[in-house]
Amino acid sequence: MDGVISRKHWEDARMGMTIIEKILARASGAAKIGPGDLAVVDVDLCVLIDLSFSRASWREVLKVHDPEKAVVVFDHDVPASNRDTAAMHVRGREFVRRFGIRRFHDVGPDQGISHVVVAENAYCLPGTVMACSDSHTCSAGALNCAARGLGAPDLLYALTTGKTWFRVGETVRYDLHGKLGEGVSTKDLFLYIAGSHGDHANQNVEFGGSALAHLSIDARRTLTTMGAELSAEFATFEPDQVLIDYVKARNPAPFEPQYPDPDADYATRHRIELDKLSPMVALPDRVIRNAVPVEEAAGEPIQQAFIGSCANGTLDDLAEAARVLAGRRVAPGVRLLVTPGSQRIAAAAAKAGYVQTLLEAGAVVTPATCGACYGGHMGVLGPGETCITASTRNFRGRMGDPTARIYMASPATVAASAVAGRIAHPGRI
């Protein structure tokens, strides 16, 4: 593939570009791109995860386009829980040695979920293009990065040639205003969007508005990570000073954030007042058009509660769980599992006293990993069980047995439910 762009059917070629269009135009060397185009772009960052090296996915690589643009993060099964994944890790370490990959996160103090590690080191710079073979790669959109989950063959193409392709879709803009109330998070905002606006297949979502002043990078990352569940091509935030300071504190490399043009051509524009949101929960089996206010599911007995994943294993999330659990106890017969997004977060949570609070409440705090979110290890569900999870998906069978039922909510709602022994509103326990 080369850099040719097939220009097609823009509504109006004079209109400006959205954030994603600007980043992709720059990366493909085109002056302008728009919906319907096929963009072939230079990839600034390729992230390989432990599953990239699984025997079902990995193909022996003979040449890496640029080892300085590669990052390897072991995350799905760390520390290895079985011989298959231990062998997968061995293959990954051999690859890292052979090609001299400098930025490698193995089991240890800088272990974590790839999307969390990529953000906390600001490997994904504003205005750049990032590829990784995990669907929640869109997480880095919070850092104004055009980040997309690819398949394993796509990722090997990007790793070995330095390029990939994107079909450019139209962009839906969400303008966020006001401030979230106590016990309400961007997870609830996501559930509101997925519940009322449905999927965004073949579209990009862009977030901006005056509420950004009150939204931490952690909170923004929860929202962009869940962009995968909207089936969005990309999910990005407008840059602001909070973001620029966050990146500069973590990565000395120069970068150029991309703002949308004032006359950017959006398919739709939605305005959301954050003050009006309340805690939501997704009912079992699917995320889209399946969320209700917590009150409607309240009282449902649970056996497991989980807080973790690339979406909800942030320091903000652990702080929120600790706030709800302080001075309370997890109900008998309920397992509350908390998995920090990275070991760095685990250390910060320990220093801040959150871990102590969680342990005293009866939670089990695990090492950082994708773990229970995908039914891999450390919290797999058994037949007929019910779980409420602050993670990424509630698909049938996702976290273990296909007869288990999975509700999905915010860390505050999950913590409150663990205390109540049944699904509960975080403000009413």
């Binding site: 099964d77 039914g375 069978g397």
Partner: protein, 167 residues
């Protein structure tokens, strides 16, 4: 021309149903056997080579796991859906599995109808009812990758990855 017997699925069919998490590191054969085992147990045993899946909106939502490869490995002729998740679509291109979007397809077919797909003129015909629908065209390059075995043969030919036999 691709033609085959239709199996119908609804909206938001996710990748975890096609490739359950516990099998992410299993062999391709084990993965193939587990397709839709949670929602349609025994389905893989009823398939004939060349059968076609008709899907609803947002088919393949979920993870980057190679679910499209499992559908290809089952010998299915194609997937044709109202809309397809972008990541699932990428994997269909990359693993050489024909996946097409066709607004109206879900209402136009019942299970066990015969579908006939003509990529040359982007049309889909229901051989039982005679209905003809327009398939959404895709860029020529992606179509060519999708119908010629996907990305791995390209990378092998360019010496960027080892051939499977050698690896």
């Amino acid at each position: 021309m691709i033609s085959g017997r239709v199996w119908k699925f609804g909206d938001d069919i996710n990748t975890d149903l096609m490739l359950p998490g516990p099998l992410l590191t299993a062999s391709e054969e084990e993965q193939r056997r587990a397709v839709f085992s949670a929602n349609r147990p025994g389905w893989v045993d009823q398939l004939r080579s060349g059968d076609i899946i008709v899907g609803g909106r947002n088919f393949g939502t979920g993870s980057s796991r190679p679910a499209a490869r499992s559908l290809r490995n089952l010998g299915l002729g194609a997937l044709i859906a109202e809309s397809i998740n972008g990541l699932f679509f990428r994997n269909a291109v990359s693993f050489g599995f024909v996946a097409l979007e066709c607004p109206g397809v879900h209402a136009a077919f019942e299970e066990a109808h015969t579908a006939e797909i003509s990529i040359a003129d982007w049309t889909l015909r229901n051989c039982d009812t005679g209905a003809v629908l327009a398939i959404s065209p895709m860029p020529e390059r992606l179509l060519s990758l999708m119908t010629s075995g996907g990305i791995f043969p390209v990378l092998e030919a360019e010496g960027l990855i080892a051939s499977k036999a050698a690896g």
